[in-house]
Symmetry: C2
Subunit: 164 residues, 2 copies
DNA sequence: GTCCATGCAAACTGTTTGCATTCTT
DNA sequence: AAGAATGCAAACAGTTTGCATGGAC
């Protein structure tokens, strides 16, 4: 258990390096730029957001569009990121390392994503999966509706749909 | 309550016609071809499936790609169809009229979608939404994993990923 | 020298849209 | 004649890929 606990504590970049090693790949400066950027804040994001940001930084500090996409997929494989939902036709990512499993209420007005964790749901899913002889590896639950902020109508909402 | 009960019983085409009327639109032969095709069996499907099928039928019996896409969106608006998931980058639809709310186990090997209904989940979601002052209008729950059939390995699976 | 990784531009895919034409009323 | 609907082809957006170049060991 000590090892497991420790394993949970090493930082994402290190975890990524380990993952890459097992596949005979290297943690290049570009890849590192992506992990660092993405893990700088615990926010939902999509690929293009980081393309806009990272692709104009100088070399060794940023990465090109293709590298970003390729790296995000690797990070998902590595268990560091999770594809949670889709907003505006874009895949939305979030941290999947050191954070408890949770789902999202997605406001169809402002696009805000509200996280919530609920054990009943995961337990129920386990049961349902078992009952069907299905080996569950994960799930994606998007609850659509309108958030509290947007329900108070007069004041216009400050967030726009395309801001995720 | 009588009206409601009756309303549940009229056939999808009629329901669609009513919906269109409220928007000043007509139930054209093309639109009818789409509803009929789509409601012929209670199966999951994607747009391209029907494009392949309907776009080569003679006029008045089929419809073009654009009309199909446009009609599917109308059917969703009308509450006749639901976008349930995404498989192979395609939006997957299913009937949303006369069928109880349910969710899906999606096999990542063969692509099979197993429906299941579970009250606990919907009740829990209600509670969670309320707790956040969120007005829920629906949800999308995709459970990923491997189905029972694909877990028995030796016999190769008969369904392919790209068959939905 | 070999293998991995990058960036660019082109390709791909599902879906949407502009537009000229046709149908309905 | 006005409005709505169609089909075609082009546009679109996000993502993926082929390929020539560059870097690490």
């Amino acid at each position: 258990m000590h090892l497991a606990a420790f394993d949970e504590d090493i930082d994402p970049t290190e975890k990524f390096r380990e993952f890459l090693q097992t596949k005979g790949m290297r943690l290049t400066p570009e890849r590192e730029a992506v992990v660092t950027a993405v893990y700088a804040t615990h926010d939902h994001f999509d690929a293009e957001q980081w393309v806009a940001n990272l692709s104009q930084r100088g070399r060794k500090d940023g990465a090109s569009r293709s590298t970003i996409y390729r790296t995000l997929s690797l990070l998902v494989e590595a268990g560091l990121l999770r594809r949670v939902a889709r907003a505006n036709d874009r895949e939305v990512y979030e941290h999947d390392y050191g954070y408890p499993q949770h789902d999202h209420l997605i406001c169809s007005k402002c696009g805000d994503m509200i996280e919530f964790a609920n054990d009943v749901i995961s337990e129920t899913l386990e049961k349902v999966a078992n009952a069907h002889g299905f080996r569950m590896s994960g799930h994606r639950l998007e609850v659509e509706g309108v958030c509290a902020k947007c329900l108070r109508p007069p004041q216009r909402s400050h967030r726009r749909l395309d801001m995720i």
